[in-house]
Subunit: 450 residues, 2 copies
């Protein structure tokens, strides 16, 4: 069923909850997709959400829980007993179960695991909890379908039926040897078209198979799945044994998060916040860069103070301080953004730092020359002061060139040092370029006038 | 086969090309995945790339062509005759074929189409070219598998075999009625487990089916597939007739592009550039915002000029111009980034503008108060001037509050006006806040001192 969340619907629902109309709420919600249910729950009070939640079918409820926003879920789970959480985990796929348990305090985790009904499922989840959540192991689920090389198609279908009960989405079958080592992949389509007596050995493909190891980073997993257009990827351990699979929907989340993180870094936000996050978290995530910027501003003030006598001699220099600083910042942000993006999409693998900086210098010179021309024209015709016009044009040209090179160089160097290059975008580069830009400006002024 | 591109490998390959060792190049390349081939080609000269390209298997060559970077492909295609391009399009899926043709001049397009061997394939591609490339129609392919409600499983498998030849990736089957209207979806897994005589009617699911219309925007398609974790989605026309399907790999590209575009906008880049783009394109994409920033800087200079007498009376006011301007910019960028991200992920559907602005004002007050305290401390203890300390602290508090509110309000208002809110991030908000911040600063100074 298609569902669109409206303010009107929410008001009606709140009235229904008020009147405790359990039957009609239940009937309506159990037709909805879990993702839509999650959207609705997030817009209710926690106690209202709990009321609705308890009316849901078991499996739908568990899946909806995982569709909730992290922050909301964290608060919502506090309303549940360990026993209730255990019931949810019993319904979830192993990867989701591990994610949910990962959100709990250690003592609660123990308690929930001990209350789970399906102890085999529980031990699989405990296995997954060992992996770093940012690795392939942390992303994978242990629900997948295997076939052995020596089976025939008929046997494979029978075995699949047994396994398929716990695997929600089947796109391909992993073929393993007797030691459970991954040998290749068999597509469902191939299986469907094969003769019942054909051996798996004869129909699966073992060439050009993509897989990852448990310790691979989630960014690399995303890169591989994106590059080779994969819908699932098998995960193997150090001995090449198949231990899990990762599905594209989880990888889409990784891609989204990565892009959001870069965007937030470039905007000077240091912690993953959403507009719905608390005021405290919001403030905390923003304060570090603002204070660094403030420190930069204080440094700038000291540089200008150093040129106090120049400034008192030519007061109109002060008018153009924001122009120089903001142009330096804008250029630096552009350059670093292009580099960070290039690094993220592996554009540079073959190109050296110097080639890149050389190209950027050329762009900087062109843009700098245009800016210089514009500002020379303005200050000459409207101000009528040649020296000021020369100072502005010269320093703007140098500042633009310098900012472009610096904006390119810093992220490239950080990347070489294995530090996230996105750190060098946004406020960092703006602050650094403000300081350098002003130093150049006053130095040029000094040279021109004295 | 796993392949990693290295500088060493490229040098060896270039030597092989030089020596025209066709057989060994051919053998090596035809084991590679098309995505890897594309990576290699992009690192060769166009003529070297053409030499290698002509040695590839037909299908691999066509797919590799589509894996190339847009800019590189545009140039590379110029080396091909219409006849040669037509041969590539014959090999491609309809969606890729349409994308390739879409990159050509209109006259070349005609020429290529007339040279295509498979005229049915050609007419399907021509149909696709009618759709806006940013709509579901522009994203879809006409390769998909259908089943009719009244077939039984045996017949369905036979018919599928006929259809499956041209459909590379099969995950599910679309069930249609006699008028080709979409009725529901049948998963391959369900089909595999069904009795041969069971009717399709009895086993397919028609509830909670997600589909889109041809005119749906690609962003909405991505949102739906991401929200409901879909691997493919059927596309229907106005009469509910099935006309195509969209696969997740194309949607992953949409998600990636969207994120990159927001990041570039926030960094003041107005056109989609990559680090490998030409110097001209690079300059063109960067100049508009730099010039707008420059205009902002000129406006700031006029504002400061307006307070010339104040400035000559208290010269140290000039020292803190960059501090005020950069803090205003930094705060504005943070606020607008959070709003733009919230809008992109539909976080606000239920919340009014005023709630959002109210919350942001509170955050602005907290951050503003902290900044005011820091700068008051600095200027009081190091400068020893009470009036300056009061001016700085008061104006910084007001500027932060104002910038936070403006940074929130502008993108929200743009969004209401159906203008891309990302326009209001980065240089725009920095420039606007510079001007407003300085006006506040000098006004406060005037009030404090006179």
């Amino acid at each position: 069923m298609k569902f669109e969340l409206t303010k009107k619907y929410l008001e009606d629902l709140e009235a229904q909850i008020e009147r405790k109309e359990e039957a009609s709420i239940q009937e309506f919600f159990n037709q909805l997709h879990s993702a839509d249910i999650a959207d609705i729950l997030e817009n209710l009070d926690e106690s209202e959400a709990k009321f609705v939640y308890e009316l849901l079918d078991e499996e739908k409820a568990a899946v909806a829980l995982m569709e909730l926003d992290d922050d909301f879920r964290q608060g919502f789970l506090k309303l549940f007993s360990a026993q209730e959480i255990a019931e949810q985990v019993d319904q979830l796929d192993t990867d989701d179960g591990a994610d949910l348990l990962g959100q709990l305090e250690d003592s609660d985790k123990q308690e929930v695991i001990s209350q789970m009904e399906d102890q085999e499922h529980a031990s699989e989840i405990i296995d997954l909890l060992r992996y770093d959540e940012d690795s392939a192991g942390g992303l994978m689920q242990t629900e997948y379908i295997i076939a052995r090389e020596k089976w025939n198609v008929k046997r494979c279908v029978i075995e699949m039926r047994k396994q398929a009960e716990e695997v929600e989405k089947v796109y391909s079958i992993y073929v393993v040897d007797d030691e459970d080592r991954l040998m290749g992949i068999l597509s469902l389509r191939r299986l469907l078209f094969a003769e019942p007596n054909a051996l798996i050995n004869e129909i699966y493909s073992s060439e050009n198979i993509h897989y990852v190891r448990t310790n691979e980073s989630k960014e690399t997993v995303a890169e591989i799945m994106e590059k080779y257009d994969l819908v699932t990827i098998p995960v193997v351990d150090m001995q090449q044994k198949l231990v899990g699979r990762i599905t594209i929907d989880d990888v889409v989340d990784v891609i989204r998060e990565e892009a959001e993180r870069d965007f937030q870094m470039a905007s000077g936000i240091s912690e993953n916040v959403e507009s719905s996050s608390s005021i405290l978290k919001n403030t905390r995530s923003r304060l570090p860069w603002i204070l660094i910027g403030l420190a930069g501003g204080i440094m700038s003030s000291q540089i200008i103070k150093g040129y106090e006598s120049t400034l008192s001699f030519i007061p109109s220099l002060a008018f153009f301080i924001p122009l120089i600083a903001s142009t330096a910042g804008n250029i630096g942000v552009q350059s670093s953004a292009i580099v960070v993006q290039g690094l993220a999409s592996n554009d540079f693998q073959m190109k050296g730092i110097m080639t890149r900086v050389g190209k950027e210098s050329l762009i900087g010179m062109i843009v700098g020359a245009i800016c210089a021309l514009v500002i020379f024209g303005f200050s000459y015709f409207f101000g009528g002061d040649d020296k000021l016009a020369i100072t502005l044009a010269t320093s703007l040209f140098v500042v633009v060139l310098f900012s472009a090179v610096l904006g390119t160089l810093i992220p490239l160097v950080l990347d070489r040092l294995k530090i996230d290059p996105a750190l060098a975008t946004g406020p960092f580069i703006t602050t650094a370029n403000d300081i350098i830009g002003l130093s150049i400006y006053f130095l040029v002024a000094y040279l021109v006038y004295f």
